[in-house]
Amino acid sequence: MNNTGKQSFRDFLGALEEAGELLRIRKPVDVRDISGLMAQTPKAAFFETIKEYPDWTLAGALVSSRKRLAIAMGSTENDVGAACERGLMRPIEPVMVASGPCQEVVHTGEAADLTRLPYPLMHLFDGGPYIGGTFVVSKDPDYGVNVGSYRMMYRTPKETGIDLVSPSDMRFYYQRALDKGKPLEIAVCIGVHPKDMLAASYKAPINQSEYSIAGGLHGAPVALVKCKTVDLEVPADAELVLEGELLPIGWTADEGPFGEFSQISGDVKWNPIFRLKCITHRKNPIFYLLQMPWENDWLAAPVTEAAGLQALRIASVEPVAIRAPVGGCGYWSLVASIKKRPGEGKNAVLALLSVAEVKHVIVTDDDIDIHNPDDLEWAMTFRVQADRDVIILSGARGKHIDPSIKSWELGKGGLPTTAKMGIDATIPEGVPKKLYRRIKTYGKDRVKLEDYL
């Protein structure tokens, strides 16, 4: 726990261990074998000894299940979206501190070398080893501070790519710097609490600081320290910080493929280059290796669910339950049940389709258990007429890694659009509710089968 009361990455590891969800691997491991080993453990993995990297330990697969995500959120598994929404509703501004553990060790000049960090090749077909699980800070003179999460594939001891193909505030900041022919300073933090990662991946309005969102999720302010070589502030409790700049070269460097959070291997992309100036880290640092796709998917789900809940409330629709299924990677699909008044099935569909790049939506009444696929299918079978209850929109904001939008036709730096579809699976207006009375077995409550065995 920090002085501010905010939880750190190490606090989360402690919570996982207490819950029996952390597996310690004590034998020395070649860094090239870490991905393969991590894929075989049902628990989060902690590697205590890494060959060639005596100063480092490594933790990964930390939120590769909804159970561990719930531990991070301090909630039940079905309540992670609501817990996320509650945090989003009460932003807490960060506080500056004079020093922090993330700067206990400082490497500049030749010692600032990306091969110091123990990150392995993650997947077949990846274009190289990359740093995931990033909390990337940037600043624009007019729009202020932004935090996002972007993967960075190794190029040289001083350079990585940075996956900036999708629309984001930092992409916008970079474009503004590029238009002036200037680099964009960034600080890349690795090893922060999952709530910090959620704040980074939340699509906040451009004038809202993700630091205040992280504070809200924690219920305590994020403590920040000034960087050593760039004009930025970073969480004092991070394990590791890379300071540097994005070169003003535009989307000209090949990067990827990455194993994507869409659960498929991606394509080669064209991205800017990050140039390293300085590495700072804790003593006895822990490198966080985000396990794609599962950690990314589970980290996406509560943010998507919270955004869906907010969209419904803004539309004056009362949500009962919401789910961003892992089949939709916690990102592209939303299923919600509502307390419906006439017309609100359609309003809810439209509200949920407005969320980020969500492309498929199903809305049901509150008598449907949306966590039960059979119940959901039943609602879609008997409450939907496709010619009036399916809404299809064209030309909405999309994401490159969805192959069905043919992003390869766009050229370097182009932004894709997508079609969206929503299904109103609520009881249609004009159809009496009594027609949906579910059958119940006669006498089931009076007898017990075990009495007859």
Partner: protein
């Protein structure tokens, strides 16, 4: 250029390859040594990509 970087370039020139194939062919080399050599090729802009994501040597 280091001997390992020279070897990597010769192998990629002979046949475009996926990164994981190149890693597998050099598992006997320490990972950091491999990354330094790879960095030499990238810093010198000696590599490009084909449509399948293979690394291809740039003709100079």
């Amino acid at each position: 250029m280091s001997p390992l970087a020279t070897t990597l370039l010769a192998e990629i020139t002979a046949r475009p390859q996926q990164f994981d194939e190149i890693v597998d062919a050099h598992r006997a080399v320490p990972w950091r040594t491999f990354l330094y050599a790879w960095g030499e090729l990238r810093a010198a802009d000696l590599l490009t990509r084909d449509d399948d994501g293979n690394f291809v040597a740039v003709r100079k």
